[in-house]
């Protein structure tokens, strides 16, 4: 395990080279304690992927960072701001954009309204032209009801709408879940292109092969803790361990 990647003992406040720095993150759904002290960092321009079995706490980690979980504790620093007690609307306005696992397309809004819904939090969001270039399907479906789109189109819409906001840190929760290979490929291209443009991305993925095409680093989550972490270049060397972790 590479110590520099885990960096659990370094003070979060002192680190200028991280966009997101999480220390001892704990979270609860009602009475049930689901995150048991996670430590991880995301550096500018990186794509970091959280891997792990179903129910390990990956999605919960994103929700805890976003502030949309019942109760959380620990240190969460985003670009030097302590957001561990901030409300989710404030966290969003600081520049974190979230794409939930269930996609969250609104049935009572048409595609254009869904796309235009998240308010701009910073200047420099992607223009509609660029978004339609990334996701040409959306342009043709602007007048359709949001939930009338196919699963793949809904996922594109869910990603597209947060690119408009100017947020430079994206959290994507299982963007490839249940999608056809050709669509997964398109989403992979999009993530690669966003990375090129300097976006920082925290990704939750079950689809390990997909993650391998886009990620710089991995953290393995199990029972609400980070149990391992390595860079994409160390992937081959860690393959066996990873199979054991993920039980594939």
């Amino acid at each position: 395990m590479a110590d520099t990647l885990m960096a659990p003992h370094r003070s979060a406040a002192a680190s200028n080279d991280t966009v997101l720095s999480v220390r001892n993150l704990q979270a609860w759904y009602g009475e049930s304690h689901v995150l048991h002290g996670l430590d991880f960092d995301v550096r500018p321009g990186e794509v970091v992927t959280l891997l792990g079995r179903n129910g390990a706490g990956k999605s919960t980690t994103l929700k805890a960072v976003m502030g949309i979980i019942g109760k959380r504790s620990g240190e969460i620093q985003f670009e030097g701001n302590d957001i561990s007690r901030a409300s989710s609307d404030r966290i969003a306005r600081l520049g974190i954009a979230f794409c939930p696992e269930e996609r969250g397309i609104f049935a009572s809004l048409d595609v254009r309204e869904n796309l235009m819904l998240p308010p701009a939090v910073r200047p420099g969001g992607l223009s509609l032209e660029v978004i339609f270039e990334l996701f040409p399907n959306l342009r043709e479906r602007l007048k359709s009801q949001g939930t009338k789109l196919s699963g793949g189109e809904q996922q594109m819409l869910a990603i597209a709408r947060i690119l408009r906001t100017g947020a430079r840190f994206l959290m994507l929760d299982e963007p490839t879940e249940g999608l056809a290979p050709v669509i997964i490929q398109q989403i992979g291209h999009t993530i690669a292109r966003l990375k090129q443009q300097g976006f920082t991305i925290l990704l939750v993925e079950q689809n390990f092969r997909f993650a391998a095409t886009v990620a710089d680093r991995y953290y393995v989550v199990e029972h609400g803790k980070i149990i391992d972490g390595f860079a994409n270049s160390e992937l081959e060397a860690n393959m066996e361990k990873l199979h054991a972790y993920l039980g594939v």
């Binding site: 609307d89 954009a97 609104f106 235009m116 819904l117 998240p118």
Partner: protein, 291 residues
């Protein structure tokens, strides 16, 4: 059957007027229910407060009808915001029943206080000078004020519909009705939106109260009488749709009016009979979504 057109149109007009009030009130109830998940039983009392507000403005401060149309909804809307901030907000996430009981109690208290000071008889509120008199349309005589109430209510309803269905603010509102957590995670201050929505719904009720003051007089129980019918209208129309509330409101007013002409004995019950029928056939209401 011998049809007396004069009388038929007169009843149709009464129906349209009642329909205007039904539409304004059920529209507010639908908006509030969508965002707060609360069936606002205080709506009738707040409607009555709108009328009293107009009365006080005129008789205490000498401020007339036209200003009251703007001031009363704002004042009563602010009172609604106070209720939401101090009480209703703590009920979010609980069963409908809690909100229903709380607002029902609030309605009774407000009504009781007004009854204590003003009794049960009506206070007069004069029709503003510009809207007095009537126009002979040939087939009927149209009192100007009544025509104004119908046209103005319809305009306010359509404006509210436009605001909710066609603007960015309305898109926030519709989205937050579906998934408030996610809308908040996009950076929108949803709690503040909920408060303002309650204020808007209450403001619509108060506006209906001002409109009604010159027609029905200003009475502490004016809301209690009306709100029972309005809830039946809401049940028939369903809570789901804005346009549904508007159309159902006007349609039921007209149906009531027609019943008054053709079979007056049933005019007070026709809405409730329709409600029972709708509940039997389509429990979510004509335009409603199942919760």
């Amino acid at each position: 059957m011998d049809i007396n057109l004069q009388a038929l149109f007169a009843q149709l007009l009464v129906g349209l007027i009642n329909g205007s009030f039904y539409a304004l009130l059920s529209l507010g109830l639908a908006v509030i229910f969508g965002m707060l998940n609360i069936i606002n039983f205080a709506h009738g009392a707040l409607y009555m407060m709108g009328a009293f507000c107009a009365y006080f403005l005129l008789n205490v401060l000498g401020i007339g009808y036209w200003y009251a149309l703007i001031i009363a909804p704002i004042v009563v809307g602010l009172f609604g915001i106070l209720l939401e901030r101090t009480m209703l907000q703590w009920l979010s996430g609980l069963d409908h029943l809690y909100g229903l009981l709380l607002t029902f109690g609030l309605g009774l208290i407000i009504q009781g206080v007004f009854q204590n000071y003003f009794g049960s008889s009506g206070l007069p509120y004069a029709i503003p000078e510009e809207l007095r008199g009537g126009i002979n349309l040939g087939f009927m005589f149209l009192p100007v004020y009544r025509g104004w109430v119908v046209v103005f209510s319809l305009a306010v309803c359509l404006l509210t519909w436009f605001l909710i269905e066609r603007t960015q603010l309305g898109a926030y509102l519709r989205a937050a009705t579906e998934n408030p957590t996610l809308v908040r995670a996009f950076g929108i201050n949803v709690p503040r939106m909920i408060t303002l929505t309650y204020g808007l719904g209450v403001g619509l009720a108060a506006l209906a109260g001002v409109l009604s003051a010159p027609i029905n007089q200003v009475r502490p129980l004016m809301g209690a009488d009306l709100i029972i019918v309005v809830f039946a209208v809401v049940v028939i129309g369903g809570m789901g749709s804005i346009m549904g509330s508007i159309i159902t409101g006007f349609a039921l007013g007209i149906i009531e009016g027609l019943t008054k002409y053709f079979y007056p004995e049933a005019s007070n019950t026709v809405v409730f009979v329709l409600m029972v029928l709708v509940l039997l056939i389509k429990p979510a209401g004509l335009t409603g979504r199942t919760a």
